[in-house]
Assembly symmetry: C2
């Protein structure tokens, strides 16, 4: 099992988050990548309710997770961590130069051209639910996101994965698409729905999800949360 | 001058955009990177108002710019292109392993943790200006963005650049911060304001900006725009 206390790689995650965020925190991405290639990692669990550990903002400027540490290296932002893990194994990042560039292009596409729409949607549907602006804004955001998802569906076509073989691009994109699973943005587009189902049925995803959820198991709800 | 018709690298850009977007289109990022290291590139200018050239969505799934082509490679998303250019020269991406990871972490941070807030702000201040939801939403977005910019200012501290030496992370972050220049998000934080001014006073930035604006010079406003 990739979670091993003495592993050379350490991934920082939270030991508690509210129900709606469980299974969606971004340490899921590096956990999934490690699971794909059987790479052991240890967990450093921090509590999100109180102050961060001494010096943590120097590791992660937003106070969020994940941070990856390995051999004197410290990396933050799940996209940067995915890229670092991808360099380790062609099962995560193809070695053919064009396939590699394609995967990196799609990695950035997931995080800079698709996820920002989902961030705004999550604000509307979770954090600002019921507020007047959120109800007024939702239709135009969904229309814009729908156009973007149409393009994504066209670009994917009937291919199995975004960049040829499975890659870190699919880990990024599937975890982004999954955040829209309460809308018809994915379910209303057959090839995107099949793509997401294909990604989430990978045993490595299931193990990564279980590992994230396990980290919450023994932590009571923080008083400050 | 880096813009050379016979250069090995081709960057796709628009030949016309509306006034508010001039100087802010994302081909600015690779142009700037090329200017920093004196790397020649040719321009492929496309018109944003009509249909895209045949096959263009296969190059750039959103129909946007930039795309970089070099030696049989095709790369989309400005972040992926910056990373590719960074690999060419340590003046864009340091070779020390930790400094390199720091720069890549900040590259993703600019595009996935800061720019999404600016996207939403641009929607409110430009595309949906005057709409009721936009006026109702703006205060909470500005409060959230303010917290994020406080963290960014803390993380930068008194350093000159994000990751030690100047890097692609600064090209990404400065072009993001510049999109917020009609608010006090940057100008209200002295070290961020100084950082942005320092970045934008680099001769390479000024040449890149001029090159983007030059591309609009001879194109009349499209009938469809």
């Amino acid at each position: 099992m990739p979670v091993e206390p003495d592993a050379a790689i350490e991934i920082t995650a939270f030991d508690w988050v509210p129900g709606f965020a469980r299974g969606f925190v971004r340490d899921l991405r590096p956990r999934w990548a490690c699971e794909e290639i059987g790479l052991a990692y240890s967990e450093r669990l921090i509590n999100p309710a109180g102050p961060r550990p001494e010096g943590y903002y120097a590791e992660q400027p937003w106070g969020q997770v994940p941070v990856l540490k390995e051999d004197g290296l410290e990396i933050f932002e799940s996209g940067a961590i995915l890229l670092h893990l991808g360099e380790k194994d062609e099962r995560l990042l193809p070695r053919d130069p064009q396939a590699r560039q394609r995967a990196i292009s799609w990695l950035f596409a997931a995080l800079n051209s698709v996820e920002p729409l989902i961030f705004e949607l999550s604000t509307i549907d979770i954090f600002a639910k019921g507020e007047e602006w959120a109800e007024l804004r939702r239709p135009s955001l969904m229309a814009f996101a729908g156009q973007r998802f149409d393009r994504l569906a066209d670009a994917l076509g009937e291919r199995e994965w975004l960049a040829g073989p499975f890659s870190i691009a699919d880990i990024a994109m599937a975890t982004v698409l999954r955040e829209a699973d309460k809308t018809d943005l994915v379910s209303g587009r057959a090839n995107l729905a099949a793509y997401l189902a294909r990604a989430l049925s990978r045993p490595a995803f299931e193990r990564a999800l279980t590992a994230q959820l396990d980290a919450f198991r023994d932590t009571p709800q923080p008083a400050a949360a």
